[in-house]
Symmetry: C2
């Protein structure tokens, strides 16, 4: 999507603090972190919201979770616990309409999650 901020990061047209990547997913640091570790894991394919995930995308959604594992390993957070969050729609707090999994860790996390 030509006007999508995250597609531009995927295509290296906009800089980002990239943590790691896999064939179909990319992980980079959130520019407004809410915790010592706050990384976004996105599919390289443009999917606007979680409501737009189609059956053919199942694999890439799983790949987001595998790449999140790698982020947690890199950050040294395997044993400390973390939270994975996806906001859906403006009412859910989604600000960029290219799905992204927030990987949040490195501090205590309260409940409820917002």
């Amino acid at each position: 999507m030509p006007d999508c901020l995250f597609c531009k990061i995927v295509h290296r047209e906009i800089p980002a603090d990239i943590v790691c990547e896999s064939e179909h997913a990319l992980a980079f640091r959130d520019i407004s972190p809410v915790a010592p570790t706050h990384v976004l894991v996105i599919p390289k394919k443009h999917i606007a919201t979680a409501n737009d995930i189609s059956p053919e995308d199942k694999d890439v959604i799983g790949e987001l979770y595998l790449l999140a594992q790698k982020v947690i390993e890199i950050e040294g957070l395997i044993s400390s616990g973390h939270r994975l969050v996806m906001n859906v729609g403006a009412g859910g707090g989604q600000s960029v309409f290219h799905i992204h999994l927030h990987v949040i860790g490195g501090r205590s996390l309260s409940w409820p999650p917002g």
Copy 2:
């Protein structure tokens, strides 16, 4: 897993307020809801934490998101937005060690998510 609460729900050995299900996933209401809609979507297969997801599980993780879409449709929340949350490890707020995606909606959601 014989001692897993959520495996028992999958096998209908413990009652739960089931919302919908698919071949490999099940959705039921959280017994301690933090929002008007608070549903847990789990894989029927036992996976302890998000750190234990293996490459062969990619598809089932995607299926959790497809079933979450169905929950949102049933709850009439497609246009209002919602949040999908997975706690990982005790430090991340995970209390049952069978992965579950919290589908939270029906009220405004603040940031950060805990």
